[in-house]
């Protein structure tokens, strides 16, 4: 039970850090922490074998989004 609270608090903390950070490149690692915490929370909340599939789908999807955001950001840098 403590595990779930720790994970939830870390998710909220990461969101606050990501919101306050102005630099896009340094914002993404905070969002990454939030993704870890949410994937962990999915499994801690739902003790079912399919919860693993849900957590993995969420995590891989959010990582792909972060990848796309970072690549777009890097491309924007080159044009500038």
């Amino acid at each position: 039970m403590i595990a779930l609270y720790i994970v939830a608090v870390i998710a909220v903390f990461a969101v606050i850090r990501a919101t306050l950070e102005k630099n896009t490149g340094r914002k993404l690692p905070y969002v990454n922490v939030m993704n870890f915490a949410v994937a962990g929370a999915i499994v801690l909340l739902l003790d079912h074998p399919l919860a693993l599939a849900a957590a993995a789908a969420y995590f891989v999807g959010s990582t792909l989004e972060a990848n796309a955001l970072a690549s777009t950001y890097a491309g924007g840098d080159r044009r500038g």
Binding site: I2, A3, L4, I6, V7, I10, F13, A14, R17, N23, T24, G25, R26, L28, P29, Y30, V31, N32, V33, F36, A37, A39, G40, V43, L44, D47, H48, P49, A51, L52, A53, A55, A56, F59, V60, T63, L64, A66, N67, A68, L69, A70, S71, T72, Y73, A74, G75, D77
Partner: protein, 161 residues
């Protein structure tokens, strides 16, 4: 209550050592796997951090690495024991392919973590300790101080070199 808290802290330390060792073994700090990882590394360096450590942090953001493997393996062991952990390794491998990641750090990390987490469950730990522990471990790398974390990772990378 205190016992569970100490288990989570111990699990965080074990997870940290496991994923950093696997990521450094697979040379994540060497080059950005995708252009976005390199951009994140440059921003971290501009913020007073280390380029090699920043590159590893950028790679962690952009593709499932050993840290993601450890988290999902712990989740897998929690819901279905060793088969669950190995299923998580397969899902991480698919994730690596989707993210155009040539490295196998994530898959290796997931397989190793499956057996490490399962081993610890035999001596009184719960798999949930490792889920929370891994989230704490990634917080210390990606979520507290990018400058300090990247400098530490850069120092460990130079030891490996």
């Amino acid at each position: 209550m205190l016992g569970e808290f100490l288990h989570i802290l111990a699990a965080a330390i074990v997870s940290w050592i496991l994923f950093v060792a696997v990521d450094i073994f697979f040379k994540l700090p060497e080059t950005g796997g995708v252009v976005g990882a390199t951009a994140i590394a440059r921003d971290i360096e501009a913020g007073g951090g280390d380029l090699a450590g920043g590159t590893m942090m950028g790679n962690i953001v952009c593709s499932p690495d050993a840290s993601a493997g450890t988290l999902l393996a712990a989740c897998g062991v929690y819901v279905a024991g060793i088969p669950g952990g190995l299923a998580a390794a397969v899902l991480v491998y698919i994730g690596n392919r989707i993210c155009y990641d040539p490295g196998y750090a994530g898959t290796t990390g997931a397989v190793l973590a499956t057996f490490v987490v399962y081993g610890f469950t035999l001596v009184g730990f719960a798999a949930t300790d490792f889920i929370a522990g891994m989230v704490i471990a990634i917080l210390t790398v990606q979520g507290l101080s990018h400058a300090h974390a990247s400098q530490l990772l850069g120092r460990l990378w130079r030891v490996r070199e």
